[in-house]
Point group: C2
Chain length 207, copies 2
DNA sequence: TATACATAAATGAACGTTCATTCTTTTTTT
DNA sequence: AAAAAAAGAATGAACGTTCATTTATGTATA
C-alpha cells in the first residue's frame, strides 16, 4: 500500500523535492527490475538484487509495491503505456489510413530498435506467464488507436478485411523479432533494412 | 551424469523393456517440464513439482539430467529438433522454391497450431534467458534447410534479396504470434485465416 | 527562533518457507 | 548375492517478506 504517499504529500503543502525523491526511487526500482529481468530472467532477479541495483533496502520496495508480482505488473504497465504513447505521439485522426499507418509503424520501429531495454522487457512479458492476466489485458487496451485505424482502413477498402490478429502478426509483430535478434547481436538493422521491412509490412496488410 | 545409463544398457545385453522404461521416464520429465513452464513460468516450476507430475522422485531427475538448467536446455533442444523435423518432413530439394516454401510454411503452421504445448514452450525459450546461449545457438542450426531454400530463391530471383532475419520475421515468425494468441483464447485460427496468412507471408518475401 | 512532539520514510536484520541438490536407504533387476 | 535404479528424507542456501528500529521531515507550542 503506497496510497498514503500521494494523499499526504498533496493534502499538506510539501516541497516538490520530497515528492521527486519518492518518484525517483520508484523509477529506480522499475528500471532495476527491467534491467535484471532482461539479463537474467524473472527467476534469477531476486528482490535483494533489485533493491541493491536501485540503491535501496529490500524492505523499501514494499513501501512502493505490494509484492514482487505487483512490481513486475506495474513495470509492465508503465512500459507498455510509454510504448504506446510514443507510438501514437505523431499520429492524428485526420491523416489518411495509408499515411497514419506509416507514421505509427515507424514510431514503433523507432521505439523497438532504440529503447531496447524497455522493448525487450515487453517482449518477455508478452511471451511468458511473468505478468498476470489482468495486467496483460489492461496493457492491450492501449493499442486501441491502432485498431481504430485498421477499422477505418477496412471500411475505406484500403486494408485487407482480415482479423486484427493477422494484421498485427504480419505488420507489427515482426519488429519484435528483429529487435530481439538485434539485441542478441545476431543482426544489425539499418535504415534500408527498415525501409524494406516497412514495405513488407504494408504489402502484407494493404488490399 | 547419466552416461552410465546408456553404456551399461547397451554394453550388456539387456531387455528392451528396461530401456523403454528409462526412455519413458526421461520423456515424462521433459513433458512435465514443458507443461509446468508453460503454465506457471520457469520461476514457478520447481523440481519437486516437475518430479511429481512425471511420477518420479525429485532425486531421480538427477539420474537423467545434471541440474535444472540442463533439464530445461535439453527440453528446448529436443522440442526444437522435433519442430524442425516436422517442418521439413515433406520438403525435398527437388521442389521449386515456391512450392518448397509453401510446403515448409504449412508444416510449420500445422505444428504451431496443433502441437501448442511444444510450440508455446519454444516461444518462451526464444524470448527469455531461460535456456543458455550455447543451447540456443545449437537450436538455430536446425533451421539450415530453410536458409538454404531462401538462398536458392534469391539466386533464382524468386525471393527478395533481403536479410534472412527479415525473411524470417515476416514469413515465419508471425505464426508464433498467432499461436500464442490462439493459445490464450484471444482468437481462433481457421482454415481460411491460414490461407490469408500464407498469402501475406509469401507476399512479403517474394520478388 | 528554539524546543518538543508527531509522522512518515527508510533501513538492516531476521523470519518462515521453499528451493535445488545430496545422502542414505529401499527396491528392483540381473 | 551383487549392482544399479529409484525413492524419500534431509540439507544448506536463497528466496520473498516482515519486523523493530532509526533517520528524516514537518508541525505546534512558547
Amino acid at each position: 500500500m503506497n496510497v498514503h504517499l500521494c494523499i499526504s504529500l498533496w493534502g499538506n503543502s510539501i516541497t516538490m523535492a520530497k515528492l521527486q525523491k519518492s518518484i525517483d526511487k520508484r523509477n529506480a526500482l522499475l528500471k532495476a527490475t527491467i534491467n535484471l529481468v532482461n539479463n537474467d530472467g524473472f527467476h534469477a532477479a531476486p528482490m535483494s538484487k533489485i533493491a541493491k541495483m536501485a540503491g535501496v533496502s529490500p524492505a523499501t520496495i514494499y513501501l512502493y509495491f505490494e509484492n514482487k508480482q505487483d512490481l513486475v505488473n506495474k513495470a509492465y504497465l508503465e512500459v507498455k503505456s510509454a510504448f504506446t504513447d510514443y507510438a501514437f505521439a505523431t499520429y492524428s485522426d485526420e491523416m489518411s489510413v495509408n499515411e497514419g499507418f506509416e507514421v505509427i509503424w515507424r514510431r514503433i520501429a523507432d521505439f523497438k530498435l532504440n529503447q531496447c531495454e524497455e522493448a525487450l522487457f515487453l517482449a518477455q512479458c508478452d511471451n511468458t506467464p511473468m505478468v498476470d492476466e489482468p495486467s496483460r489485458k489492461e496493457g492491450i487496451k492501449h493499442l486501441q488507436p491502432l485498431l481504430a485505424l485498421w477499422e477505418r482502413g477496412k471500411k475505406e477498402g484500403v486494408i485487407k478485411p482480415i482479423s486484427d490478429y493477422l494484421l498485427y502478426a504480419y505488420a507489427i509483430n515482426p519488429l519484435s523479432f528483429l529487435m530481439i535478434m538485434q539485441q542478441r547481436g545476431a543482426c544489425a538493422i539499418n535504415r534500408s533494412h527498415l525501409d524494406e521491412a516497412y514495405k513488407a509490412a504494408w504489402d502484407s496488410i494493404k488490399m
